[in-house]
């Protein structure tokens, strides 16, 4: 199993888009660290469902985002960080889709299989790792998106509220377009 190389991800090569990516990565790193640690502390059960998949590297890739996310759900040292897509890190399992699709999944408002059937969600690598992560997250009551938002108080909740409006609008627009 190849692992994402943190050093490699940080090597600066300098066209402008990459600079933006690097800057946004740097900005969100502390927030992501806080999110993953709090989720891990609050939901120790989550790791049971992951079984032996706690040290695998997941690449979560919101295609319309400036960066992707690298997740290693290790209960001893949980890792979630932003990585640049240009270094195309080799993950054990990759989940790819538009940001709002991924958010809907995390917000427990869309079914993962349905997103896969409609091709809004693309998965590759170790399929069992993906199924385990999906089932582990789905066993949390309510919505992880909401829980994360709550970590950041009223501003967090406001942002989630806005994002929800966006995905609901896009969803109904797409349904109309299909009909």
């Amino acid at each position: 199993m190849k692992h994402l190389n943190p050093d490699k991800a940080a090597i600066p090569r300098l066209p402008r888009a990459e600079t933006i990516t690097l800057m946004s990565c740097a900005l969100v790193q502390p927030l992501l660290r806080r999110v993953v640690r709090q989720i891990a502390t609050r939901h120790p059960n989550l790791f049971e469902r992951l079984g032996s998949y706690r040290t695998i590297d997941y690449l979560i890739d919101p295609i319309d985002f400036p960066f992707a996310l690298h997740l290693r759900p290790d209960p001893l040292e949980p890792l979630l960080r932003a990585v640049s897509r240009d270094v195309t890190p080799d993950a054990g399992a990759t989940i790819r889709g538009r940001f709002l699709t991924l958010l809907r999944l995390l917000d427990s408002s869309e079914d993962g299989d349905a997103a896969f059937f409609s091709r809004d969600l693309e998965v590759s690598g170790d399929t069992e790792a993906i199924v385990r992560l999906r089932n582990a997250l789905d066993d949390l009551d309510g919505s992880i998106a909401e829980e994360v938002a709550n970590m950041f108080g009223p501003p967090g909740r406001a942002i989630l509220g806005r994002l929800r409006q966006m995905y609901l609008r896009r969803h109904s627009a797409e349904k109309l377009a299909q009909a």
């Binding site: 469902r49 299989d113 409609s118 949390l140 009551d141």
Partner: protein
């Protein structure tokens, strides 16, 4: 009153189903004793105990699925699943294996016995056998019967009838399928798996097409815009001597949806309607259970049911009424 039977793959899904109006939920343990032995899914004994108390306090029943076939030498695991279920107070066992049915009928005579669809009892004689010998109270019918055939069975047997109304549409006779084992070495009947994730691989191409493989065998390749299904052998695309272009030899990726046949099913004497999908998310459970709850309530009040559109949740985003509507399906 026709009952609505709902899937629960996790404790959170169980609570979701109860809250959405399930009359009963069905679930299983994290091992080979049930036919949805998928990674990261299902219940520990403690989780089941808490699930039972959550459901019971809200008037919902819990049915424990122990519906695979224990291979010789491993029978104890299945028996202890039943013992744990009895201990935490489940309302019924759903079983298929005769040896196990005989055991639970003797060891736990006070707990209802339901005959799993995995037993594939599709004739009155077969159903009577299980009722006579094991005291089966309800049979879950295979998804191969037309409504007139269900009505005929109803007339000839005395136990309750449960039929699937929504979800994955298995093509093969349940409990008689070794397709997965042929390609992977893991058995649907003995291990509770169907196309196990550990053996599934998705290969994405630059042009947006995607191929699914099981145990190294290509099951399907779909173009960029095409909808996807589950990577199961019975929904795969193959080349046949008369079909050099490749075709879905068994069935296209499609799900069962009988929402428009509910009144006919109830009229035919079906006692319980089952939603498939223990492997699905809380979001699926919430949406599908709510939709059927409100449809059944409408019917009970003599109104025409207003059925929500569930096509987005279906495999291949396509629906079928399968065998239920016409025998031409066969």
């Amino acid at each position: 009153m026709t009952e609505l039977i709902c899937p629960a793959g996790t404790p959170a899904a169980l609570r979701t189903a109860v809250d959405a109006g399930a009359d009963a939920v069905y679930c299983g343990f994290q091992d080979a004793t049930n036919a949805r032995n998928f990674p990261g899914l299902n219940f520990t004994a403690d989780e089941l105990a808490r699930g039972v108390s959550y459901a019971r306090s809200r008037g919902t029943k819990v049915l424990l699925t122990i519906n695979t076939y224990p291979p010789a030498g491993k029978v104890d695991l299945w028996r202890s699943a039943a013992d744990v279920g009895a201990h935490v107070g489940v309302d019924a066992f759903i079983v298929a294996d005769m040896g196990l049915a005989d055991y639970v009928a003797r060891a736990h005579p006070d707990i209802r016995l339901h005959l799993s669809v995995q037993a594939a009892a599709s004739s009155p004689e077969a159903i009577r056998y299980y009722c006579k010998h094991f005291g089966v109270k309800r049979v879950v019918l295979p998804r191969i019967l037309t409504i007139p055939e269900i009505r005929q069975i109803r007339r000839e047997i005395h136990c309750e009838i449960e039929t699937f109304i929504f979800g994955n549409h298995g093509l093969m006779v349940e409990g008689r399928c070794s397709l997965t084992n042929y390609l992977t070495g893991q058995s649907t009947n003995m291990d509770g798996v169907c196309s196990p994730a550990s053996d599934v691989e998705y290969v994405q191409d630059e042009d947006g097409s995607m191929c699914s493989r099981l145990g190294g065998f290509t099951l399907d390749c779909i173009g960029a815009g095409e909808k996807a299904g589950y990577p199961t052998i019975c929904k795969g695309r193959y080349i046949g001597s008369h079909r050099p272009e490749g075709y879905y030899a068994f069935e296209e990726p499609v799900s069962l949806n009988l929402s428009h046949l509910l009144p006919e099913l109830i009229e035919a004497g079906v006692d319980a309607l089952k939603i498939e999908g223990r492997q699905r998310s809380k979001s699926y459970v919430r949406t599908v259970v709510s939709a059927f709850r409100s449809a059944l309530d409408d019917i009970r009040h003599g109104q025409t049911p207003n059925i929500a559109d569930l096509v987005a949740l279906t495999e291949g985003q396509k629906e079928t009424r399968g065998a239920f509507e016409t025998k031409r399906w066969r």
